[in-house]
């Protein structure tokens, strides 16, 4: 190693290093003054580009669960490097999961600062969390953070690589570098001579950059070939021809197939089992007790499913209330001072306002929800000669590595995790429970290559669901205006539940070892997710308060596409709609009047324009608007419904979001559309309920969400007024439910305050 051409800008160092036949180009974070603990010159490279004699590889560390992450990361590099992604010499590779590929942006969502807050402390804390993520090597895909984190890192890496190649060509040809151009993986000389990047790479590896490359040197939008233009996703052809391989599709010579059954009372143990039949078929040594259950190894997946089902098992009781009904009681009882967790919004004087006006009051609630990606959880494992290999679709490969080390006693160097393409995740693969089970099987059968697949029933009944949420809302209107809004929300703590299962020790959380880390830990303890999507909305209501209450833990819960905002957005916006109606104001105009964030106002105005807000609709039809700011992205949606004799029909949905910069208009449209359908479908039809400590919905017959016949036409628009680039995987989810409920109110006069809506009204 050596020859680190250091280009500093903001917090990035971009450098290169020679390898056999070429070079690696990459970056590393410079560190942050207050968290600086390592010596400044001890740098090593995190490569994003490898150019050697086999071709050009772009490393894309954020995983693809369907959101197009591989493509968009590759495009950021391709734009600046001047290569074409459809060229055969270009490989896109997830690369090895290593701490250097930390995600610097994902934690900022947990801070008690609204994304619209750019005060000194907010900015500082966000920077702290970035440094903190680096320190703990937080390798994670999630929180709609991929593009925000990758945008400059990858573009600057591409730009530096291109400069190095140009300089190598200049040296070779003795033509001044300013006269050289690049195109499609080549440097072009004025006389038409072409040098390929691949042939230049060994020479470029020796070059030292003479000048800084800054963010300002990156291509302007108008000069971009790739970014901002419709792209062809790198995985599209494979995914539209059945060729894409997912984790569940792994087939290797000699592989065995496993299934497991564990206690459907989550976290509960197994008391005893009788597996005589299964043992008579596969042998005693292929029926394997694991934590909380038992696994069977068979010749094919079906046989494994059948045999594991044939086992007679006695389970331990649930450690939490047995029925949803009992759980709701616990939620109802949680609005007490000792369960109060935060009051992040407290403006004006809510108490006085409520005393003085006519109070509008309402209670809202939303159920548990399952992630249920279409590809069930699975993992393939081989433990042999002191080495463990794991093939798995996961958002947290390093956590997997660390838990695997704990389970096997191996050092992490001897554990290899291969991140497979995922058939959806929606947050489910932020958990490693299923991987642990596969590792337990591997431990019992060293030398056997085992693919463990969950049945859909196992998947549905062992989800870590989205928490139930309960809200008590009060408000006052005066003179046609919203005067006061007081929202109290009780929920299980997703943050606490998830952190309690992580195996990586988060130094700042358990034992603060520096002041900034203590500050971050303190911020995380505020448990923002309890109220996110409600407390952080940019409305200037004169008397405005949002309080979060933490319900004592019961069913373990996890991040579900848009996390806390998924239910809080429904509470906040529906109740705002109630107040606006009580005030006799126009739902769109009053939201715009109250909005104190110009980027958001434009989003609201745009959705009004697209939906022709205010125009007459046929009798029996209604229009609802909703707005939620989540993950830094303001989104407004308008839904139109008709109340037909057979039930409610969703005619149309309009959705507008501002993501700062659109990298791929095609993919962003797909993601926004997918989010709206996710939001609408679950709001209409889906809930996970518990009885006898077990999830009652065991498969898609009882957990439907949206199907083709209920899907409305969706019109989409992405704006670019915001300063910062943001991801769009989640933010269109929260406003979908309130927009639909508000539209149903407009069409029928019925205000539904509980999801799923089909408990109260029929859909066509």
């Amino acid at each position: 190693m050596g020859n680190l051409a250091a280009i500093t800008r903001r917090s990035f160092l971009i450098g290169s290093v020679a390898i056999t036949g070429g070079m690696l180009i990459g970056c590393q974070s410079k560190g942050f003054s207050l968290l600086q603990r390592k010596s400044k010159d001890k740098t090593h490279l995190t490569p994003y580009i490898r150019i050697d004699q086999t071709g050009i590889t772009i490393i894309t560390p954020r995983a693809d669960m369907g959101q197009g992450a591989y493509s968009v990361q590759a495009a950021l590099v391709a734009e600046e490097l001047d290569v074409e992604l459809d060229d055969d010499s270009i490989q896109v590779d997830h690369g090895p999961p290593k701490p250097e590929y930390f995600n610097g942006k994902v934690l900022s969502e947990l801070l008690p600062f609204a994304s619209t807050d750019n005060s000194k402390w907010a900015v500082r804390l966000r920077n702290f969390t970035e440094g903190f993520s680096e320190r703990i090597g937080l390798f994670m895909t999630g929180g709609s953070s991929t593009v925000a984190d990758a945008h400059y890192k990858l573009r600057l890496t591409g730009a530096v690589a291109r400069q190095l190649l140009i300089m190598a060509a200049a040296e070779r040809s003795k033509v001044h570098k300013n006269k050289l151009k690049t195109e499609n993986g080549h440097v072009l000389l004025p006389d038409g001579t072409k040098y390929s990047y691949v042939e230049l790479a060994p020479e470029a590896a020796d070059i030292k950059l003479s000048e800084e490359i800054k963010i300002d040197d990156l291509k302007l939008k108008s000069n971009c070939r790739v970014l901002g233009k419709p792209m062809q996703r790198v995985d599209m052809v494979d995914k539209c021809t059945g060729k894409q391989k997912y984790g569940i599709d792994i087939n290797k010579d000699g592989m065995l197939y496993a299934a497991v059954r564990t206690n459907p009372r989550l976290g509960g143990k197994i008391i005893s089992y009788d597996a005589k039949f299964a043992e008579s078929i596969v042998g005693k040594d292929k029926v394997i007790p694991i934590s909380g259950g038992v696994g069977v190894i068979a010749d094919n997946t079906w046989q494994a499913f059948e045999l594991v089902d044939s086992i007679d098992i006695k389970w331990e009781d649930a450690s939490y209330p047995e029925t949803s009904y009992q759980m709701w009681e616990e939620f109802e009882n949680s609005f007490t001072p000792w369960r109060k967790k935060n009051r992040l919004k407290n403006e004006g004087n809510v108490k006085t306002a409520l005393e003085q006006g006519d109070v509008v009051e309402a209670n809202y609630r939303v159920p548990y929800l399952a992630h249920a990606p279409l590809e069930p959880m699975n993992a393939t494992v081989l433990l042999e000669d002191g080495r463990l290999d794991i093939w798995v679709g996961t958002q947290i490969p390093l956590f997997v590595k660390s838990v695997a080390a704990k389970l096997t006693g191996l050092s992490e160097d001897n554990i290899h995790v291969y991140v497979e393409v995922m058939g959806g995740s929606f947050g489910r693969r932020l958990e490693d429970d299923f991987v642990c089970q596969a590792i337990e099987l591997a431990k019992a059968r060293p030398g056997d290559l085992i693919k463990m697949t969950w049945s859909r029933e196992e998947d549905m009944t062992h989800d870590f669901p989205r928490t139930m949420q309960l809200a008590k809302a009060r408000g006052v209107v005066n003179n046609g205006k919203v005067e006061a809004m007081d929202l109290k929300i009780a929920a299980l703590s997703t943050t606490a539940s998830q952190f309690s299962r992580t195996t990586i020790s988060l130094p700042g959380l358990r034992m603060p070892i520096s002041i900034p880390e203590a500050i971050i830990a303190n911020a995380l303890r505020k448990d923002v997710a309890l109220v996110s999507g409600a407390w952080d909305q940019p409305f200037s209501i004169p008397n405005y308060r949002v309080t979060g209450y933490k319900v004592p833990s019961m069913v373990p819960v996890s991040s579900w596409r848009s996390v806390g905002a998924s239910g809080n957005g429904f509470f906040h916006d529906c109740f705002l709609d109630e107040l606006i109606h009580a005030a006799g104001a126009d739902p769109l105009e009053e939201r715009i009047r109250l909005c104190s964030h110009s980027v958001s106002s434009k989003v609201l105005e745009k959705v009004g324009e697209m939906s022709n807000w205010g125009s007459a609709l046929p009798a029996g039809s209604g229009r609802g608007v909703a707005y939620t700011l989540s993950f830094g992205v303001p989104v407004a949606e308008v839904v139109e419904v008709t109340n037909t004799a057979k039930g409610i029909k969703i005619d149309k949905a309009y959705v507008v979001a501002d993501v700062g910069k659109v990298l791929d208009p095609v993919n962003i449209e797909n993601q926004m559309m997918g989010g709206v359908i996710w939001g609408l479908g679950h709001a209409m039809n889906a809930e996970l309920t518990y009885k006898d400590g077990k999830a009652e919905q065991t498969n898609f017959h009882a957990y439907e969400c949206m199907r083709m016949y209920q899907t409305p036409e969706i019109e989409i628009c992405a704006l670019e007024n915001a300063d910062e680039i943001r991801g769009i995987g989640e933010p269109t989810v929260p406003p979908a439910a309130p927009a639909l409920a508000n539209a149903i109110f407009a069409a029928t006069g019925q205000r539904i305050r509980e999801l799923p809506l089909n408990k109260h009204i029929k859909f066509i």
Binding site: K239, N300, T301, M708
Partner: protein, 161 residues
């Protein structure tokens, strides 16, 4: 009685041990024949991810026991779906960039191909009826609808031209 089951998949005959008689075709395809383009999503005919064609009709392979099939039943999976219609459907899918995670798309494509084989010019209602059996958790339905229409159009044009 024969002590084996014979099936015809993608034009190739396979002789399977009789013990597989009650095994759903899906798992024979995926685990025995290593044709993993056909996906498992629910196992109870609720999601459509496992859709294949048997004698040209779309069938859920997760609830089709291989013992129900004879060697005359022609099973076609996504890997060998290369009729003019299937090709048009796949092309249209790529053109509209339908897939997100893509996991449901083999099944969607097989259902859409079967639909267009019977109905050259499906209306929205026809599409709803046939395609509502195929779940997509990523929510690609609007693009599926568009892609089916594009495929129908290109097939009609090819026929007329």
């Amino acid at each position: 009685m024969a002590d084996y089951v014979e099936i015809n998949v993608n034009g190739v005959r396979h002789r399977l041990d009789i013990r597989h008689k009650r095994t759903p075709l899906l798992w024979i395809l995926r685990d025995e024949l290593k044709l993993t383009g056909t996906k498992y999503g629910c196992g109870i005919a609720q999601c459509g991810a496992c859709t294949v064609h048997i004698n040209g009709l779309s069938r859920r392979s997760c609830v089709t026991e291989v013992g129900e099939l004879t060697e005359d039943d022609k099973v076609i999976t996504i890997e060998a779906a290369d009729s003019t219609i299937a090709k048009a459907v796949k092309e249209s899918w790529v053109q509209h960039q339908v897939a997100q995670c893509g996991y449901c798309q083999s099944g969607q494509i097989m259902s859409a191909t079967a639909l267009l084989s019977k109905n050259k010019n499906p209306t929205d209602d026809d599409i709803d009826r046939v395609m509502s059996g195929n779940l997509c958790r990523c929510g690609t339905y609007p693009l599926i609808r568009k892609a089916i229409k594009t495929a129908a159009k290109s097939l009609t044009e090819a026929n007329n031209g």
